[in-house]
Amino acid sequence: MSSLQMYMLLGALIFLLGLHGLLVLTDPIRRLIAVNLMGAGTFMIMVTLARRTDPADPVLHALVVTGLVVAISATAFALRLITANLITETPNLAENNAAQSDTTLSQQGSPPT
């Protein structure tokens, strides 16, 4: 077993762990993390495949660099979808949240002693 084979296996394992989390979990943020983990597993397999040649394959590296930036923007959009959905669906919760953030703000806002 070479270290490349181990990293292939690790990538597959992380992908499947993420899939498992996506199936099992209910909290939206945790599910989003699970999707991100699946992405990380895919990237890991791609980078390992790039390693087959001795100067590592720059095409796969470039694809993964692009993928990382796309992943973070998709995550930002998904988080926004999650919060927007929660706030419109349950106005009471939104009010509670606003009240909570008010209190935290006022606590933060107290001048340092």
């Binding site: 935290t104 606590q107 933060q108 107290s110 340092p112």
Partner: protein, 111 residues
Amino acid sequence: MSLLLDSLAWLLMIFGLLFFITGALGLIRFPDIYSRLHAVTKTDTLGLGLLAAGLAIKSESVSTALLLLFIWLLVLASGAVSCQLLARYSLESDPAATGISEHIPGESDDR
């Protein structure tokens, strides 16, 4: 001479790693955020310093050594600032929980 320098570098790095281990232990085992911060920042600054010193000796080039020194100083300062920031924040948001055994809600439910 080179053997002496080499063993000195290894010694420094091993001591640095030991400090990291104690810091991690403290992070896991200590009861509240203040003692945890204490454990992590203190041991990490010293551990990283020893590690950087060992690596600087091993690198045998002045520019790399200076670079390592610079990295250490940066981590030192940002560690100090973020430690103070965390401690202040938890103090301001929950002034009651200053005792050693106090449990800070939402911060350490599982440890």
